[in-house]
């Protein structure tokens, strides 16, 4: 502009300085983003939330889902906390998701981070209930089963397994979670009477294994026995409508006469 010519040395120096600035700034920025995005693996997202990577990308952090939630279940993560910044989450032990049939949070979402593909709230998979067998009252032999009774999908998501005991008239009533039905709403976690909840909601990725396709369960009826190593068709989920049978030993022992 002033007619001053730039020497090659000056030009190269300027280019190097610019590149260095961009690289340092960019690296710092990327570092911050990565720190934030992988901040905490325990975050439970509202119903219909896309898988973590897509949810992180599409959530615009506007909080319309938070406003739409009639139970104040959802919160937005503050800056500098343990959860990725600005996105909705819930803590079931404080307020669980009460599974509104009209899914207002999902309908409020402007970006589709809570996917409108979720038509039935019972199909939502916010997380998976996991029972700490060592501290579950029912597994200790007490008649608790509060989680089973409170479960909105009682008999499907949490069913009771009866185990008679040789030494006692009391049967054991084991609550069992079935991942095919558990929505991760956390009503069980909220209801659990132990000092620290013995049943908790965790993100699927934290608790669920996968057996892999090369295992073949030859003894199940649905697995075709053959010589080749093709993966077996996955068995349809076994729906266990466990109703408590009248005649199971120990169920009604108080009403039975002494032998």
């Amino acid at each position: 502009m002033t007619g001053k010519t730039t020497t090659r040395r000056e030009f190269l120096l300027k280019a190097a300085q610019g590149t260095a600035m961009a690289a340092t700034g960019g690296l710092l920025w990327v570092y911050l983003l990565r720190q934030e995005a992988r901040a905490h693996p325990y975050a439970l997202r509202p119903p219909g939330a896309l898988v973590e990577k897509d949810f992180n990308a599409t959530c615009i952090k506007c909080g319309q889902c938070v406003n739409a939630c009639p139970y104040d279940t959802l919160k937005l993560a503050g800056a500098g906390g343990s959860l990725p910044i600005g996105m909705p989450y819930f803590i079931p032990r404080d307020i669980p998701c009460y599974l509104c049939p009209d899914i207002p949070c999902m309908r409020a979402c402007p970006t589709g981070a809570l996917s409108p593909d979720l038509k039935d709230i019972n199909d939502s998979r916010m997380g998976l209930a996991v029972i700490d067998l060592e501290n579950c009252l029912s597994w200790k032999g007490l008649r608790c089963e509060i989680c089973h009774r409170e479960c909105p999908l009682k008999g499907k998501a949490i069913s009771l397994e009866l185990h008679p005991r040789a030494q006692s008239k009391h049967a054991m009533f084991y609550p069992i979670v079935n991942s095919d039905f558990c929505t991760g709403c956390g009503i069980c976690e909220k209801a659990c009477p132990t000092a620290e909840a013995a049943i908790r909601i965790l993100p699927h990725g934290m608790v669920q294994g996968r057996i892999g396709e090369h295992y073949r369960l030859g003894w199940t009826f649905d697995t075709e026995i053959s010589q080749d190593f093709k993966p077996a068709e996955t068995a349809p989920p076994a729906v266990q409508e466990t109703t408590v049978p009248d005649k199971a030993p120990g169920v009604d022992y108080l009403n039975e006469g002494e032998p």
Binding site: N56, I60, G80, G86
Partner: protein
């Protein structure tokens, strides 16, 4: 320097400056009118969001009045609004947006395209309250600059935000934006975002004057680019101007008040002008006034006759 017109001009300028110093209290208060209006606008918008989130404000019927925050919101259940820069970043992460978000982004984009992009910065953005306070205090305390940073850094930051969104797969600026933090934390509860705002305050106060809004903020850069064709502009009357420089001293983006360009075009042309109105309220000769772009040429011609 012995040019007689030059001396006369300098005398005029000094007379203008004297006018500013000798204003009555009422005139002083009156010159704050746009600041007051801007604070009212900023606080009202925050209040509408806050009231809807916390006190369940509803209108009409049982639809939430203004739900969400500056990133994305819905007004009276009818008007979706989405931050176009946030939408662009999300798009660059490789995700298609819903129709609602696209309409919302278009609404906001067209609004500022017509009005002038950085109207957002001066009249809506909550961080502006923090940086204005820092800037005002800095002038009061007469804190000398530490170093010079070019004003166009914001465009590089903007480019970086877009590129990093594509690379990292998350909306790069939205994840660190103090604008978003401030709004979210006022509306949805406190985190440590106020520390970021404190940092901006101290940065603006002690390190770089108008550092955040005037140099670094990529959202400001985005709106500067969008707002070039804004219809509400500050008209410049070159015949009454005495070159006293009072406007430049009070302007948070003084490069937009380049006299040569002002005289050429007859208006504040740069998109970096945020229409904050400080200069129009202060100018002792009334040479700077808000006007519609379409009428500026006509008004300037009339003023010359």
């Amino acid at each position: 320097m012995s040019d007689p017109t030059d001396t006369r001009l300098r005398a005029d300028a000094q007379a203008s400056l004297r006018k500013i110093h000798e204003r009555s209290l009422g005139a002083r208060m009156w010159s704050w009118r746009y600041v007051v209006l801007r604070r009212i606008a900023q606080v009202t918008i925050l209040l509408l969001f806050f009231g809807t989130a916390h006190w369940g404000w509803q209108f009409p019927g049982d639809t939430p009045l203004l739900t969400g925050n500056l990133s994305s919101s819905e007004f009276m259940g009818l008007l979706p609004m989405t931050d176009p820069l946030a939408a662009l970043q999300i798009f660059l992460t490789g995700h298609l947006l819903t129709r609602e978000a696209l309409i919302g982004a278009a609404v906001v984009f067209i609004f500022y395209l017509l009005l002038g992009g950085r109207v957002f910065c001066a009249w809506v953005c909550p961080v502006n309250m923090v940086t204005d306070l820092a800037g005002w205090l800095r002038t009061r305390l007469d804190i000398k600059p530490l170093f010079h940073v070019p004003r166009n850094v914001r465009y590089y930051v903007l480019a970086a935000a877009l590129i990093l969104s594509a690379i990292t797969g998350v909306a790069a600026f939205e994840w660190v934006s103090p604008v978003g933090m401030m709004h979210r934390e006022i509306i949805f509860g406190l985190g440590f975002g106020f520390l970021a705002l404190l940092a901006i305050f101290l940065f603006d106060l002690l390190i770089l004057k108008n550092g955040w809004c005037g140099h670094l903020c990529p959202l400001g850069g985005f709106w500067s680019l969008v707002g070039r064709g804004g219809q509400v502009r500050v008209r410049f009357d070159r015949d009454t101007c005495t070159h006293c420089g009072a406007c430049g001293a009070v302007c948070p983006e003084p490069q937009v008040l380049n006299l040569k360009k002002l005289e050429e075009r007859g208006l504040v042309y740069s998109g970096e002008c945020s229409n904050c109105g400080r200069c129009t309220a202060l100018c002792p000769e009334n040479s700077l006034n808000f006007d519609l772009r379409a009428l500026i040429r006509k008004h300037n011609a009339q003023a010359r006759d």
